[in-house]
């Protein structure tokens, strides 16, 4: 029931926002806070709550075996927490700017929240697919109407690309549905129990792979990303990079690993090569970028490539690392895009070559940026280290050469981030730039994110202990010989 609320409340808020002339922002924000409270409750009490209170299983289209079935295991909980934690924050940062047609804008964000929560809680593959697409629509409009230069061309490309990708997923899901015994069902758990031939598994593996590879994105299906991130308005970029691409990674965990384990076994080398290539590729390209948003886009490509690689390594460090890092990456990337937006808003530019010596103007900005950046380059005792360490170890365990290649990210990550920081913050200040200091609200929100960077770096069990059972469960499905320690 509570999970259903997470979806219904933002949906109602979106409707209300559209039809209310003023106060759209407030309604959406209020619901975001309510959602956050519910999620925190779920996250902390999940073990002790009665499952009837949290989950829900209603017949929806019974003739097709489609259920409105929501439930959350540890992995889902982490992603739900990420979504509902970031939403109030994204809404807050959006309120720093004026957007035309504000009610629609905020309604779309609320609509998006509804879809994202649906994706992470759905236990029915059809429902999953519906939410997966529902989440795409609002962000499409956000980018297409509130974006920057060349937004129409870029957004349509992004839309068609990801839509085309998910068609493969739809095919795979329908095929699996048809293979279920008896009256057929879209229940994901029953997909796990199917025994499929190797050929079937191969087809399904690649269908899912394509769908998710576009969304994540994995090289070479990534070319929509940099342009879209750069053009989208800041809240759009945050929704996309912070939460939406986790849908793809989540899909890999939820579908690819447990549904087609033998195809995974057969094809994971290929998937691994592409993922690790993305790690190095994104990082190397990021070195020379001049636009801060483009730099972060390529950096993100590198980071999510590593998460995918960890998932494909299909060992416990890889899964746990992926869960931790999905959360971390969401936090870091959203914090970084906020900071970049902050810089752009006050200085009028995002070009590294036009910025210099910002530390002279705002020490607080420099400090928060530094902390978040250290998290992004995986310094120990920041959140990024935990994820990176587990993921790199997983890949190394899978194959030492792949592990060593992926590890170069710790060098390249430092290269592009420090180069950017040096140019933007150090040196003599640029003339004519004035940065008003933060107001209290800004300080609190930014330092909250920075605090998360440190807290999760020192005590990652806040996440790993929640997702441990779910990760163990998945690995037992893949490999019955896997023993939980």
């Amino acid at each position: 029931m509570l999970l259903a609320l997470l979806i219904i409340l933002p949906f109602l808020a979106a409707l209300l926002a559209v039809f209310s002339k003023g106060g759209a922002k407030q309604i959406v924000q209020l619901v975001a806070w309510v959602n956050l409270s519910i999620t925190i409750g779920l996250y902390t009490l999940s073990a002790s709550l009665d499952s009837n209170l949290t989950s829900i299983d209603l017949p929806w289209i019974l003739s097709m075996g489609i259920h409105f079935h929501l439930a959350a295991d540890g992995i889902s909980l982490v992603l739900l927490l990420l979504t509902n934690l970031l939403l109030p924050y994204i809404l807050w940062s959006a309120s720093a700017r004026e957007y035309k047609n504000e009610p629609i804008f905020y309604a779309l964000i609320a609509f998006m929240q509804s879809g994202l929560n649906g994706v992470f809680a759905a236990q029915d593959a059809f429902l999953f697919y519906v939410f997966y697409e529902v989440a795409l629509i609002p962000v499409f409009f956000i980018c297409a109407f509130w974006g920057g230069k060349d937004r129409i061309r870029i957004t349509i490309k992004f839309f068609i690309y990801t839509l085309a990708g998910s068609l493969f997923m739809l095919l795979a899901i329908i095929y699996l549905y048809i293979k279920t015994p008896g009256t057929h069902t879209f229940n994901i758990q029953s997909f796990y129990a199917l025994s499929l031939t190797d050929t079937e598994q191969t087809w399904i593996f690649w269908a899912f792979f394509l769908a998710f590879a576009v969304k994540i994105p994995i090289v070479p299906f990534h070319t929509w990303q940099a342009d879209t991130y750069t053009t989208a308005p800041a809240p759009g970029t945050m929704l996309l990079s912070g939460i939406m691409l986790k849908m793809g990674l989540y899909g890999l965990i939820r579908f690819v690993l447990p549904v087609v384990p033998s195809a995974l076994n057969q094809w994971q080398n290929w998937a691994m090569v592409l993922s690790v290539a993305g790690v190095v590729y994104g990082a190397v390209i990021a070195i020379r970028q001049n636009d801060l948003k483009t730099l972060l886009a390529y950096s993100s490509l590198s980071h999510v490539g590593l998460i995918a690689a960890g998932i494909f390594s299909s060992n416990i460090q890889g899964l746990q690392g992926a869960v931790v890092q999905m959360f971390n990456h969401g936090l870091s990337v959203v914090a970084l895009f906020t900071l970049v937006d902050f810089i752009e808003l006050r200085t009028g530019t995002r070009q590294i070559s036009e910025l210099s010596g910002l530390v002279n103007r705002s020490r607080q900005l420099a400090v928060v940026f530094m902390i978040v950046m250290l998290g992004a380059i995986g310094l120990p005792l920041t959140n990024g280290f935990i994820g990176e360490f587990l993921l790199l170890m997983a890949v190394f365990k899978f194959n030492p050469i792949a592990g060593a290649m992926a590890c170069t990210t710790i060098i390249f990550g430092a290269v592009y981030m420090l180069r950017m920081y040096r140019n933007v913050f150090f040196g003599e200040e640029t003339k004519g730039i004035t940065i008003p200091s933060f107001n209290n609200r800004e300080i609190i929100s930014l330092y909250t994110l920075a605090a998360f960077v440190i807290i999760l770096g020192v005590y990652p069990s806040l996440i790993t202990s929640v997702s441990q059972d779910a990760a163990d469960g998945l690995l037992q499905i893949i490999n019955p010989a896997y023993t939980v320690r």
């Binding site: 490309k157 390209i285 416990i316 005792l381 935990i386 360490f389 592990g403 420090l418 790993t464």
Partner: protein, 637 residues
């Protein structure tokens, strides 16, 4: 009892960092220095307690605070280990750290970022303490990268200067190259031992035979980490550039503590390294090569801090040479004495720079002996200690290294002896150019010359005292007195069955002594004539000098080679990948696919006649087809 509270040791500086960071700009310099120095003092006192307790019981203890990283069978504790090696390092770090903090309150007094400076120094102390206190390799890695961060922040402390921030980036990135090796080493350790705890790893190392491929790989990877942090060939070029940081930073981080982390790591893992003769041989060669090449470069440098920086690289090379011949406690002995005299030399140089209003070029100094008597006297002691003047600390520790290497490899021994001649030459050159002869600076500088305030000179005096007496820790075998440090460190070799007790022959010992004393006398004579008596040219024409001089002066062009051979190619690849591969090739294919779709659409558009009837028919046909397929599937399966 007190060991249970070991976490207080790093906690004090951490609190100091937090308080000073939050209060920066709000509180006075006095309170910032009280917090900064006080936190290190508390930490030092705690270490004394730890030391006393350990001396009483002789028991190493592990104190676990909580489970840090847990994933399946991987379980990494946030835990500390207190044993002899840790205490050795703790005493150096907090003791010398305390002196340098006190010195800094005088040296940095006019700096506007005073509070920030102390915050960074405290953060460094925290990281360095974690590095040596951790009870597993991942804990060491926390400190390892933490000190790298602080080093980066402090090298780029004067952030308005583009060159300084470039040096900071260079230091961080080069260290990260080393860290890559360290990290891979940790992964391999975990794969082969199933744990990253020192205790588990070292106690089960005996299952591996000497020269086992896995052990060789692990030790080589760990050594790559050590190369980065301890500035060995080929990852040494960041250290001279790191002199961009304030001088107390150079003394603390880039001479006494952080750069010895690589030696600490190898001594800590001595069990593994002793099982890998190949790695040891490589360490010996790299150590000797680094010692020699950096000594050659130091001969012609004019910046007083650069000379000391290359000297540090060279002395670290000595320590690695000792590690290469399994003389682990000898290396630690040199770490200890080097911490005394190199911190002294850097702080002395800082005092000189302070008096010279920021001038660092020795060609514009000279004759400072009379104006800075205390600084001169203590620097003299430091110089004599590093050159191995009889009975001073460096004499004992360096000769111990030479003796160990001699019994292992004669060629390396001869190279190290030659290096010690070079060391004596550049150090005496530094001393004579700075303090002897005529003053060569400007009139304003001459007018301004003054001895530093007591907060700066007292630390110098204490360090000078330690530099003189430090040899007591390791009196040579010939004296018949026990080697204090070696005895103290004995427990850390308990799992290592491959170190043979090594007693040098009497004749060798005496021979090395005579050799050391004789070379020092000869070098002293010639350098005094060349740099103290003769006029120093303020603007020498480098192009007229010999090829060897120019090679040394230009540091063998290693920076230029790295720039052309690595940095530029990487940048070029980045651009090519972005423009040609990413935007042109891959995106071209994607857009091409889109174009094909549009083409198909334009063909299909001919169907789109606007005739509603046709649409309805197509739609119905479509639905029928879908239903048909579905029903067919249902029936057939």
């Amino acid at each position: 009892m007190f060991t249970q509270l070991v976490w207080l040791v790093p906690l004090f500086p951490l609190l100091g960092f937090v308080i000073n960071a939050l209060g920066f700009g709000k509180w006075s310099k006095t309170s910032a220095s009280i917090i900064g120095i006080g936190s290190v003092l508390l930490s030092f006192v705690s270490v004394i307690f730890l030391f006393m307790e350990y001396s009483g019981s002789g028991q190493a203890q592990t104190i676990k605070l909580f489970d840090w990283i847990v994933a399946g069978d991987l379980r990494i504790g946030f835990s500390f280990l207190v044993d002899a090696l840790t205490l050795n390092m703790l005493l150096i770090i907090t003791g010398i750290g305390l002196l340098i903090h006190i010195y800094s309150s005088g040296y940095m007094h006019h700096d506007e970022g005073f509070g920030k400076f102390f915050a960074y120094l405290n953060l460094f102390m925290f990281s360095m303490l974690i590095l040596v206190l951790g009870s597993n390799f991942v804990m060491m890695f926390i400190g390892w990268e933490g000190v790298g961060l602080c080093s980066y922040l402090l090298i780029g402390y004067w952030f308005k200067n583009r060159e300084y921030t470039a040096a900071a980036n260079k230091a961080f990135i080069m260290n990260r190259i080393g860290d890559l090796g360290f990290l891979l080493g940790i992964f391999l350790i975990y794969l082969h031992f199933g744990s990253v705890e020192y205790q588990d790893v070292f106690s089960s190392a005996s299952f591996f035979s000497a020269g086992d491929a896995a052990i060789v790989a692990i030790t080589l990877l760990l050594f790559v980490g050590a190369m980065g942090k301890s500035a060995q060939i080929p990852l040494y070029t960041w250290l001279p550039d790191a002199m961009a940081g304030p001088t107390p930073v150079s003394a603390l981080i880039h001479a006494a503590t952080m750069v010895t982390a690589g030696i600490y790591m190898i001594v800590r893992s001595n069990v593994l390294f002793s099982l890998a003769p190949v790695t040891l041989e490589i360490i010996l060669i790299i150590g000797v090569a680094t010692a020699m090449i950096s000594a050659i470069i130091a001969l012609t440098q004019n910046d007083i801090k650069k000379v000391l920086a290359y000297s540090t690289v060279s002395q670290l090379g000595y320590m690695f040479a000792a590690l290469g011949v399994q003389a682990y406690s000898t290396a630690m002995f040199h770490v200890t004495t080097h911490a005394f005299f190199k911190a002294l030399l850097f702080l002395g140089a800082g005092s000189v720079i302070h008096a010279m209003s920021g001038e660092q070029n020795m060609r514009f100094m000279g004759g400072l002996k009379k104006k800075l008597p205390l600084t001169y006297f203590t620097m003299l002691i430091g110089t004599l200690a590093i050159t191995g003047f009889p009975l001073l600390s460096g004499f004992f520790s360096k000769d111990e290294i030479l003796l160990s290497v001699m019994s292992h490899n004669r060629i390396m021994f001869i190279l190290l002896v030659i290096t010690s001649v070079l060391s004596a030459t550049y150090m005496l050159r530094l001393l004579f150019m700075t303090f002897f002869g005529q003053f060569r600076g400007t009139h304003e500088q001459e007018h301004h010359l003054h001895e530093s305030p007591p907060v700066m000179t007292y630390p110098l005096i204490i360090l000078a005292f330690l530099s003189v007496t430090g040899g007591i820790l390791g009196l040579p075998h010939i004296t018949g007195v026990h080697h204090v440090l070696s005895d103290f460190l004995q427990p850390i070799f308990i799992n290592n069955t491959r170190i043979l007790p090594h007693t040098p022959e009497l004749i060798a010992e005496v021979a090395v002594w005579i050799l050391s004393i004789a070379t020092l006398a000869v070098v002293g004579h010639f350098t005094y004539r060349a740099y103290a008596l003769a006029e120093t040219d303020k603007h020498p024409d480098i192009s007229k000098k010999s090829v060897w001089y120019r090679l040394s002066y230009n540091k063998f062009y290693v920076d230029e080679i790295y720039e052309k051979g690595i940095v530029r190619p990487v940048l070029a690849i980045s651009s090519v990948l972005h423009r040609w591969f990413d935007q042109f090739f891959i995106d071209g294919i994607v857009n091409g696919a889109g174009q094909v779709a549009l083409l198909l659409a334009s063909i299909l558009r001919t169907v789109q006649t606007g005739n509603i009837g046709l649409y309805v028919i197509i739609m119905v046909a479509g639905i029928a087809l879908t239903l048909f397929i579905v029903v067919f599937k249902f029936l057939s399966i």
